[in-house]
Amino acid sequence: MPESRLEVEALTKAFGGLVAADAVSFELEPGELHAFIGPNGAGKTTLVNLLAGQLKADTGSIKFDGVPITNWSAAARARHGLVRSFQITSIFRDFTVLDNVALAGQSRQGHSFGFWRAARNDPALRDPALRVLDQVGLASRADVPAGALSHGEQRALEIAIALATEPKILLLDEPMAGMGPDDSERMIAFLGRLKRRYTIMLVEHDMDAVFALADRITVLVYGRPIATGAPAEIRANAKVRQAYLGDEETAAA
C-alpha cells in the first residue's frame, strides 16, 4: 500500500493577467486516485507542471510526505518519487522502446556517471525495463524505435517511462489524450490496475474514465477548484453541473 502524500497549499501561478492557478489547495491522500476535471483552459496541465516542477509557482507551497519541495527542481522531485506523465507525448523518439524505459530506470539507480560499461547490455537496466514493458503490453515492441510506434502504443510508453522510475506519486496528465475507444478502454483497465499501487493524480477529459476510476474528484474552473468529493457527490453538485458538465444534463434531468 502506498504511503506517500502530497499537500498543496494556496498554489498560485499567473501568466501576465491570466491566473492559471488561483490559490489551489488540496491533498493527495496515500493510495487514493484523485481525479482533476475541468473545461479546457481550466489550468489542469498548469497544475501538473507546478507540482512536477516544470513551472515555478508564484506563491503557495507543496509538501511531499511532509517535506517542503516548492523550490526543488523537476529532476529532484522526480528522483524523490513525484513523477509525471505528459499530455503531449514526451518520449525519446530516436531511442528504442526498451532504451526509453531503461533510461528512466537509470535515474532510480543513483547517478549516471558511468562512462565505460555499455548500458544496453546491463541486466540491471534491461530486466526491470522489460518487466515494465510487459506490464503495459509493449514487451514485443522493445527493439522498435519509439518514434515508429502507433499513437496508442506511444501513450502506453509515455506511462511506462514514468513507471520505470519507480514513483511514489504518479501525476498522470490526460493519459487517454487522442486515443480511440479501444485504446481508451485498455488504458482505463490498466490505470485500474495501477490504482492502490501508487498515490495517483489523474487529469482527464474522459468522463467515463474519471467516474470509473476516481476515489475523489476535484473540479477546476478558471484555475480555481470549485468542488471536491466522491464521484457521486460531484455528479450531484449543482455548481459543477452548471460550470462543467453542461446544462444539457441539467435539462435532461
Binding site: A74, A75, A76, H80, F92, S107, S112, F115, A164, T165
Partner: protein, 321 residues
C-alpha cells in the same frame, strides 16, 4: 561480424583506415611525399571533430567556439617549448588540464543558455581567448610563434620524440583510434544514454529525475579536452602557433566537418575532416579562387547529403534502398 561485412559504411571506414595507415609507406614511393603531412593534418582535425561531435552529434550542443581549445592546447605546448620545456610528460598533461578547466568554466556559463544563445556565447568566449592570444606580445601576438622543438617523451635520455616523422604519424593514428574508442565507450554507457537523452528530449530527462545540466557540462569538458589534445598535436605538426588557430572560422570549419561527415556517428567526423581537407587541398591546386567552388559545394552536400558522407555511403546499402 556478418552485419559489418554487409554494411558499406563500415567497409568504407575500414578501407579508409587501411589507406591512412599505408600513406607514409606508399606516398613517398610514388612521389607524393607531401601527402604524409596532409593526412597527418586530416587525422588531427579528425580528433578535434570527434571531440566536437561528442557534444554536438550526441548531445545536441552546437558549440561555435571549440577552436578555443585548439588554441589552448597549442599555446600551452608552444609557450612551454619556448621556455625550454620540451618534455611531453609535462606539456601534454598541463595542456589537457588547462583545456579541461577552461571548458568547465565556459561550459558552466554557456550551458545555462539554449539554441542561438548557446552558439553566440560559446563564440564570444572563444573570441575572448583569441584576443588574449593576439595580445601576448612575448609569444608573437598576431604573427604567432615558431616552435623549434616538438615534444619529447624521453625518460632518462631514451624514448621517442615527435621529431621522428613516421613515429609522429603513427602516434596520430593511434591517438585518433583511441579517441574514437573512448567516445564509443562513452556514448554507449549510462552517461552516454543520458547525454543522448538530453539531445532527444531534455524536458523528459528532467521529468524522470535526471539533472541534465551536470551531465551536459561533463560532456562539454570531455569534448574540450579532446579538442585540446588536437591543439597540442596541431602545434607539434606545424611547429607554429598563432591566434589564427583559435579564430572563429576554425570553429566553423570544425562544425562543418562534423556535419559533412555525419553527425552523431562515431566515424563521421573522420570522413568530414577527410572530405573537407582533401577537397580544399585538391581545389586549391587548380585555382587560387578555389573558395568559389568550395563554398557552394559544401552547401550542396549539406542540403542534399542527409547524414553527410557516411549517410551517403549508408544509402548505398541495398537493404536500405
Amino acid at each position: 561480424m556478418k552485419d559489418i561485412a554487409r554494411n558499406p559504411a563500415a567497409i568504407a571506414t575500414f578501407v579508409l583506415f587501411v589507406v591512412i595507415a599505408l600513406v607514409p609507406i606508399v606516398a613517398p614511393l610514388i612521389g607524393y611525399g607531401f601527402y604524409v603531412n596532409v593526412f597527418a593534418r586530416i587525422m588531427i582535425w579528425s580528433i578535434a571533430a570527434v571531440g566536437l561531435n561528442l557534444i554536438m552529434g550526441y548531445g545536441g550542443m552546437v558549440s561555435f567556439g571549440h577552436a578555443a581549445y585548439l588554441g589552448i592546447g597549442g599555446y600551452t605546448f608552444g609557450i612551454l617549448s619556448y621556455h625550454g620545456i620540451d618534455n611531453g610528460f609535462i606539456q601534454w598533461p598541463l595542456a589537457l588540464a588547462i583545456s579541461a578547466v577552461v571548458a568547465f568554466v565556459f561550459g558552466a556559463v554557456s550551458l545555462r543558455t539554449r539554441g542561438v544563445y548557446f552558439i553566440m556565447i560559446t563564440l564570444a568566449f572563444a573570441q575572448m581567448v583569441f584576443f588574449l592570444g593576439a595580445s601576448l606580445d612575448q609569444y608573437g601576438s598576431n604573427d604567432g610563434l615558431i616552435i623549434y622543438n616538438r615534444s619529447t617523451f624521453d625518460v632518462g635520455g631514451v624514448g621517442p620524440n615527435l621529431g621522428d616523422r613516421v613515429f609522429f604519424y603513427y602516434l596520430l593514428l593511434a591517438l585518433l583510434l583511441l579517441v574514437i574508442f573512448i567516445c564509443w565507450r562513452i556514448v554507449n554507457s549510462r552517461f552516454g544514454m543520458v547525454l543522448r537523452g538530453t539531445k532527444s528530449n531534455e524536458t523528459r530527462v528532467h521529468a524522470i529525475g535526471i539533472p541534465a545540466y551536470r551531465y551536459r557540462l561533463v560532456a562539454f569538458v570531455i569534448s574540450g579536452v579532446i579538442v585540446g589534445l588536437a591543439g597540442i598535436l596541431m602545434a607539434n605538426l606545424e611547429k607554429f602557433i598563432s591566434p589564427d588557430m583559435m579564430n572563429w572560422p576554425r570553429s566553423g570549419e570544425l562544425i562543418f566537418m562534423v556535419v559533412l561527415g555525419g553527425m552523431g556517428t562515431l566515424f563521421g567526423p573522420v570522413w568530414g575532416a577527410l572530405a573537407f581537407l582533401l577537397l580544399a587541398e585538391i581545389l586549391s591546386s587548380f585555382t587560387e579562387h578555389w573558395h568559389l567552388i568550395f563554398g557552394p559545394l559544401l552547401i550542396l552536400v549539406v542540403l542534399f547529403g542527409r547524414g553527410g558522407v557516411l549517410g551517403f555511403v549508408e544509402r548505398l546499402n541495398p537493404r536500405h534502398a
